[in-house]
């Protein structure tokens, strides 16, 4: 039997095509990118070997520093928002709406599947001031706030980006965390209720620890997705005003294709990978420590 399930020809037929595509599109290009990072130039001008000069430039480049700062700030705010809102939604679905939560869940999830450019353009119109006031400016006007352009200042543009991405993704994190909450056995919740745990105390001492694994997965996923943010910001502000809302992914794209610096662009791609990798390892390790402490107590 093991001979049949170990049939080499069959393995080759089943695995071969996938492995070939994967190597051609992922493995080779990733290795190649590390190579590119050691060169300066592009396809038209050709490449010159510069060693680690690109990384030296990366460390000193004020634009890169600004883009990394923006990316980290964005990630911190959006991930906190996504997890807090998502967890609140999950609690709402599980404990308030219970069996009737299906419709609300479906509605709130819908923006997740919308094309991100469509959402970006929609929000740029929702917050528009010209040629005529969009809904948000109109309502603020009624409330006595003089009309102003949200996209003219970095601060307000940043918050529109945050609101847009929260609107788009909160349903996703709601469903993600909900799938963790419904797995909590009802007996445990009943027992806790009998012991007098209610409301916030029940959530903090019983629900939160029991949903920790799914919470950690969500945090890792959220941080990774946020560090790679690109689509919605390109559609909403395109990095502006100036380059005040330019994440590192957009700077990498501009450097590579507008300024044709393939080598420097590759070193930025490596920086993005390192950021994602470090965040994942960090969360994973700190959560494991938390889990063992919780388990011992």
């Amino acid at each position: 039997m093991n001979q049949v399930l170990g049939d080499r020809r069959a393995i080759l037929i089943l695995l071969g095509p996938a492995l070939l595509m994967y190597s051609a599109v992922m493995v080779i290009p990733v290795v190649w990118s590390f190579g590119y990072a050691l060169f300066r130039g592009n396809l038209i001008e050709g490449f010159t070997f510069v060693g680690l000069a690109n990384f030296g430039r990366l460390v000193q480049d004020e634009q890169v520093a600004a883009a990394v700062r923006f990316t980290l700030l964005y990630t911190l705010v959006i991930s906190t928002g996504q997890i807090v809102l998502g967890y609140s939604l999950a609690l709402l679905y599980t404990f308030v709406l219970r069996r009737s939560s299906s419709l609300i869940r479906t509605l709130v999830f819908f923006p997740v599947v919308l094309p991100s450019v469509a959402v970006g353009l929609l929000f740029s119109r929702l917050f528009a001031v010209a040629p005529n006031s969009g809904p948000v400016v109109s309502v603020l006007d009624r409330l006595g706030v003089a009309p102003f352009d949200f996209f003219a200042a970095a601060g307000t543009a940043f918050w529109v980006i945050i609101l847009m991405d929260l609107w788009r993704s909160m349903g996703f994190y709601g469903v993600l965390l909900y799938s963790g909450l419904i797995d909590i056995p009802t007996e445990i919740l009943e027992a806790a209720r009998i012991d007098g745990a209610r409301g916030w105390r029940l959530v903090r001492s019983v629900v939160l620890p029991l949903s920790l694994p799914v919470l950690v997965s969500s945090i890792i996923f959220s941080l990774n997705a946020s560090l790679k943010v690109f689509d919605t910001i390109v559609a909403l502000t395109n990095g502006g005003p100036g380059s005040e809302t330019t994440p590192i992914t957009l700077l990498m794209f501009q450097t590579s294709f507008f300024y044709s610096s393939f080598g420097y662009g590759s070193s930025m791609a490596i920086l993005i990978s390192v950021m994602c990798f470090m965040v994942t390892i960090f969360i994973f390790r700190s959560s494991r420590r938390d889990l063992t402490v919780g388990g011992a107590a």
Partner: protein, 272 residues
């Protein structure tokens, strides 16, 4: 069951969630004059579909939608076929080194797309594929494979091994038991992964923006962005109509398959 505060929260949630989309549709039916001269909450005076016609022709939304489907459907089909076969070979079959191969493929889930763009751009340029849709299809397949293989392996793991073993006892070859026993047993998994891959391919911007060099090749996302760049500050109505049309496609799919979509997208995130 729910008290008054909870009801208010739910109402607020619905307004926040639905109103922007409602406003989008209502504005897409207003003429430019009407858009400029009426307040945002007013409903369109008549059902005027001129904006939609303009978006279709001037904004090339028709071409974009077509390109998106021409790219997305073959990509998703190939991802599923290759990924399911690889998942089967890695999970059900027994051979030395399969754990190493699985690990190498898993690593691909972590890699940001930025790491593969420049070398792929070079490759496609050198072999003369620029100005076709092939770069998109090939990249999406390679990029979607790691997660698909991983998820399919997990689905095959939940099938009792005895089924495949009894299959081979009955004299079926491995390929036979993959096609007639394996695939039908994981068809729910296939649908879930198909939806996950459909949306991540259809909604991709970064890869499309990198490899699309001419307007005739634009996918929906790039097409909308170009439309906004070219006419966005003049043709308000058609832009809204264009956004509506791209949203409509996903809405239709969502209406029929929302449960599987939520399961697929959330499941893909949790396991990945």
């Amino acid at each position: 069951m729910a008290g008054l505060p909870a009801k208010l929260v739910i109402l607020l949630l619905l307004v926040i969630d639905v109103y922007p989309l409602f406003w989008l549709v209502s504005t897409s039916l207003k003429s430019t004059q009407e858009f400029l001269n009426t307040p945002f909450w007013s409903l369109p005076q008549s059902l005027d579909f001129q904006n939609y016609a303009d978006a279709w022709t001037l904004g090339r939304i028709g071409t974009s939608l077509q390109n998106s489907l021409v790219v997305t459907i073959p990509s998703v089909v190939c991802i599923l076929l290759l990924g399911a076969a690889a998942g089967f070979a890695l999970e059900v079959m027994i051979w030395k080194g399969r754990n190493t191969v699985l690990l190498v493929i898993l690593g691909g889930i972590m890699v940001p797309s930025q790491m593969i763009l420049l070398p792929l751009f070079t490759i496609y340029f050198k072999i003369g594929l620029t100005n076709t849709l092939w770069p998109l299809i090939l990249t999406y397949i390679g990029h979607g494979l790691p997660l698909t293989t991983f998820l399919m392996a997990a689905y095959f793991r939940s099938v009792p091994r005895e089924l495949f073993e009894s299959c081979t006892l009955d004299g079926a070859g491995v390929l036979r038991s993959f096609i007639s026993v394996g695939l039908p047993l994981v068809r729910n998994g296939l649908l879930t992964v198909a939806l996950l891959m459909f949306f991540s391919t259809y909604n991709d911007l970064l890869i499309a923006l990198t490899f699309i060099t001419s307007k005739d090749m634009s996918t929906v996302q790039v097409g909308l962005l170009n439309f906004q760049g070219e006419y966005g500050s003049v043709l308000y109505g058609p832009l809204f109509a264009g956004i509506c049309m791209t949203v409509l496609g996903t809405l239709v799919v969502y209406l029929f398959l929302s449960r599987q979509i939520m399961q697929g997208l959330a499941g893909g995130a949790l396991k990945g």
